[in-house]
């Protein structure tokens, strides 16, 4: 391995010490034991162990997970297809998103107050628990509430409507058996709720989240409602805010990929004056716009509610109409949507080798 030491994921101080001791390439470090290395370079024992772990981890997908084995694009495609999306119960929106909110990515929902962002989040918190035999993900959800809008009355309504919907669809024994465990009580017991009152508590919660996700491997969805609310108070220290938000974005995408969860965050809108005209744009600035993979904009047009996918690497920019009913987030035309009963079979991918489609 002729890899330079400076490319290893180590802190600046450690790299400097290695450099000044004369270690330029990782090949130089291979034969060293930790105590000998620490004597040569002046690093502590623990740091020396870390350095050697990083060096050895380069060739095999082990170590602390910093350097993982590379995947081919085909393997990535297969991995993605095995992951189910989380339905929103609005079939039009699900269709535009290619099945629903994707797992392993960050989806941001922006909109003016009262448009339905929290409603969509609550709907997803229930939908993620739909049993697999109904085409759902059957996972748990972690809900971080910074606004105080997680009201039990509403969650119970949405949960009860989802249970009713699924029991109407239950056809065979497997589905009927699944309905035994898909009740309002179990739905509520699978939603983990944390209330954060300012940005420090939110950051602390995000630091503790990876451990929590490891302890609860069934969590498939993380909702933060809303990310904007605590950070908008940092109007005097915009550079600090940008730095903190960048960190948040990185933490979220790392968690989404490592723990196989979908991350849904809500954002507020703010006014920008451009060319003498005022426009309403998503808050938190342009830099934040790069963090989420997919951005949904919810807006009013007259008396209609519209949802637009305005940033996505894999979807067309489309606009659909939706409504908020007592049952939750639904299509505009009808109050109950025709939900597909079996998981979708992927028909538009042509791969050289036969795939194992989930059934």
């Amino acid at each position: 391995m002729q890899r330079p030491v400076s490319s290893l994921p180590l802190s600046q101080a450690v790299r400097l010490k290695l450099g000044s001791a004369g270690f330029q390439l990782t090949a130089d470090l291979l034969d060293f034991k930790p105590d000998k290395l620490s004597k040569e370079t002046g690093l502590s024992e623990e740091e020396a162990v870390e350095v050697l772990k990083a060096v050895k981890g380069g060739g095999g997908g082990g170590g602390s997970g910093d350097i993982s084995a590379s995947l081919t694009a085909l393997e990535l495609l297969q991995k993605e297809e095995e992951l189910r999306s989380i339905v929103t119960f609005s079939s039009q929106l699900d269709e535009c998103l290619g099945g629903g909110i994707p797992v392993g990515k960050i989806t941001e929902v922006c909109g003016v107050p009262g448009i339905g962002k929290t409603q969509l989040c609550l709907q997803l918190a229930v939908d993620v628990q739909v049993p697999q035999c109904f085409g759902g993900v059957e996972g748990q959800v972690m809900f971080i509430d910074t606004v105080g809008s997680f009201l039990l009355q509403r969650v119970t309504d949405i949960a009860a409507a989802a249970v009713r919907h699924c029991s109407l669809l239950a056809e065979d024994d497997e589905q009927r058996a699944a309905m035994e465990t898909f009740t309002v009580e179990t739905i509520l017991s699978n939603i983990f709720l944390v209330r954060c009152h300012d940005y420090v508590e939110l950051l602390a919660e995000l630091h503790l989240l990876p451990d929590f996700l490891s302890q609860h491997p069934k969590i498939r969805l993380l909702v933060i409602d809303s990310v904007a609310f605590p950070f908008r108070l940092l109007f005097d220290e915009l550079s600090q805010r940008t730095r903190l938000l960048n960190g948040v974005g990185q933490q979220l995408i790392t968690m989404a990929i490592n723990h196989n969860i979908a991350v849904v965050i809500t954002n507020q809108m703010t006014t920008r004056i451009r060319d003498g005209q005022s426009h309403i744009v998503p808050a938190l600035g342009e830099c934040w716009g790069h963090a989420p993979t997919i951005r949904l904009l919810l807006q009013w047009e007259g008396s209609r509610r519209l949802a637009t996918i305005f940033k996505s690497p894999c979807h067309v920019e489309t606009m659909v109409q939706y409504q908020i009913t007592p049952e939750g987030f639904r299509d505009a035309d009808q109050s109950e949507m025709a939900h597909s009963k079996r998981p979708r079979m992927d028909t538009d991918q042509s791969a050289a080798e036969p795939k194992d489609t989930s059934s």
């Binding site: 623990e46 740091e47 009262g114 939603i191």
Partner: protein
């Protein structure tokens, strides 16, 4: 708590908040600790900052939060599905003369009932920013409480010393409003003397003090004020009612904030609307309602948005005993 030994000087300079907000490489540089030690430090600091560990929604069901403050009229409480939620800002906007202050006064009394009768067992802090407090009307409402709250035993109603528990503050400008909230409100809440804050009205201070160009400064002050209210509300499980004025809407541009076809919208714009959890609007309708020897102009209380309420409205009238919903009314058009 943190078992590793970092350079003491560096650690003393940092608060727990700084540790949580800093990035791992920065901390490594500052403290000279190794990567795994820094992670331990961050985790320990984060655990300190966290107020409660995650609970499930099912556990929330059996918990205390989720109480509501009833208005006192069963028809209107049904519209609100129980009443004002504790822990969040409720806004009541409308033109002048529609009865917004009536609602504030009525809530200042209904909060004093015990929990089983829809109150929160404590008093109210009423902050006036424009007109002086309508003390006569409050006394009239107190006198008529037995009539309004027929669901409560009369001896309980007469045993409550209503006027003793309504704390009135007059704040003429922004600074005194912020001082009032930081000191007086916090003190009253900590002592358990109040479980409701009414600000009548928010628009008054923010509209007069700033010129059109100062909107950046105005937004800043608005955010400071609303975040203070929000924190008090969350920390003490206290409903906050903010009464707001309205502005005229000239054109329904594509950037409209609501589907409303009305000609007025709540003042203070998007920056304020983002801070509000429940938005209610009060308007005057054509027609009057007659009951016995009293007559009242017809009003309408609308839910504009709320996380747990449908967009709906309810007709209402203002009587001697307060605001009451009108289910079926016989109009007496003049």
């Amino acid at each position: 708590m943190v078992t590793t030994c970092a350079s003491p000087a560096a650690v003393q300079l940092m608060s727990v908040k700084d540790v949580v907000c800093a990035s791992a490489p920065d901390l490594q540089r500052l403290t000279g600790l190794s990567n795994s030690d820094v992670q331990q430090l961050i985790t320990a600091a984060a655990a300190v900052c966290r107020r409660h560990p995650p609970i499930t929604a099912q556990q929330l069901q059996h918990g205390v939060s989720g109480a509501q403050l009833r208005l006192g009229c069963p028809v209107l409480d049904r519209l609100l599905r129980g009443g004002l939620p504790v822990g969040g800002i409720t806004e009541l906007a409308g033109e002048s003369g529609t009865g917004k202050t009536q609602v504030g006064l009525q809530l200042s009394l209904s909060v004093q009932y015990p929990a089983e009768h829809g109150g929160l067992g404590a008093g109210a802090l009423y902050v006036c920013t424009e007109d002086s407090f309508p003390i006569k009307r409050l006394h009239q409402l107190i006198g008529e409480q037995v009539c309004l709250r027929s669901d409560v035993p009369a001896d309980l109603v007469s045993s409550l010393r209503f006027s003793d528990h309504v704390y009135i503050e007059h704040t003429a400008d922004l600074d005194s409003l912020l001082v009032c909230l930081t000191r007086r409100a916090r003190l009253l809440l900590t002592r358990g003397l109040v479980r409701l804050i009414v600000v009548d009205s928010v628009a008054a201070l923010f509209r007069t003090e700033f010129q059109a160009d100062d909107w950046l400064e105005r937004n800043r002050q608005l955010l400071t004020f609303s975040s203070m209210l929000h924190h008090l509300s969350q920390e003490f499980s206290t409903p906050v009612l903010c009464i707001n004025q309205v502005t005229d809407v000239f054109s329904q541009s594509h950037n409209s904030m609501g589907p409303s076809l009305s000609t007025v919208s709540p003042a203070l714009g998007l920056a304020w609307a983002n801070q509000v959890m429940v938005r209610l609007m009060m308007s005057r309708l054509q027609g009057t309602v007659v009951r016995g020897d009293q007559s009242s102009a017809l009003r309408r209380l609308e839910v504009v948005f709320a996380p747990h309420l449908a967009r709906d409205g309810q007709n209402a009238a203002v009587w001697r005993e307060g605001l009451r919903g009108v289910e079926s009314w016989t109009s007496n058009r003049k």
